[in-house]
Amino acid sequence: MTAVLHAEWTVERGGERAEIVGDFAEFVRMSLPGLLRYGHALTGNPHDAADLVQSVLEKVGSRWQSVLGKGDEPLAYVRRAMANTHVSVWRRRRKENLVSDFPETAFHDVNRLEHEPLWQALRDLPPRQRAVVVLRFYEGLSEAEIAAALGVSKGTVKSQNSKAMATLRTKLGRD
């Protein structure tokens, strides 16, 4: 009855651990670094990435059994949910924070990323266009898969993508 929240693993005889995990806590530990990175690509800054990952994971975790029951790969499911949440919920926030307060201390490397023209141009894209670009080049999804993930038509994906690429080209040409 209490299995859902347990960290579940077993230990083989002979010492080597055959640790295999089916619970949400372990999924979070395993997937956090990758999801934060992905969130960074989606949102354009590490603060929003952490917020986005946390809020999506908490929602998914609250329905963990039914997410597993759907038979989807949970990691893929979380990533799609992040893209969607970013497009729908983060839109306003991101606009407000566009020239956002940036953590000066722990992120020197990221600050250098900030100076890359392509990164700057990406940050200025509207969230849905940016999501399409991230799904295409970060996740390697096809247009049909992107359309399914974002719940829009293939035509919308096409047009958002070409708008995004045109904007990026123009901005980089200027820079």
């Binding site: 929240l5 651990r17 392509l118």
Partner: protein, 248 residues
Amino acid sequence: MDLDDELRRLFHDDRLDVAVKPGIDEEIVGGARRIRRRRNAVTGAFVFAVFAAGGFAVANIGGSQSLPPAESGTLTTTPPTSSSASVPPPVIITQTHTVTVTVEEPPAGNAPNSNNVPAGYGKLKLGMSQADALASGVLVQPSNTALGPCAGYRSESVPADEAAVVLSPSHGVARIRLPGFAKTSAAIGAGSTVAELKAKYPAAVPQGSGFAVDMPGEPAWRYVFSVDGAQKISGVRMELKNSDCTLS
């Protein structure tokens, strides 16, 4: 450089990495638990009442919450408290589990660390008796296809595979298929490459279209890795080496 390539390069950049805040994983698990508890508060009280007291006094127990019982409709199909293991529990038992957890709060991370525990996944251990496996509650639906004298079951963690778990009347649990996100102790799981598999398990031998690795332990068992067209691991199973089941 081509813009496409430049985007791919940017998204592979190490500078995209974000430091994981210490303790954030526990915070997230706690947050998920709170959301679920809020949603299931009334339903949880209801199920608890049914289990503990035979189903009366529901209104009083659930009365402090104003949330509607989100999934109370499923309660009508909840099987009677099962002490007998002769019939595998129907799919709906999953709901009962989720709800019951909101009532009992087990401490996190109390994994058994004894060296004598047989290999397994969650509540299921290889070689565990058929009756114990059926009583574990993680087998959700029997398959119609016979595997020798053995029977396949969908499991809670791999509901898509009708033979995710295979039970032998004489040898007990003969196969446990792992969910897609699970990894072995050597961090091999779905998505790992064949090269990574061979590096971590030099003893891997070809089996069918994949690989098998004998593992130490009692009862004797092995990992079976299936491989897809792109030379990546597509699935991982734990199997008894000696059973009377037809494990393809």
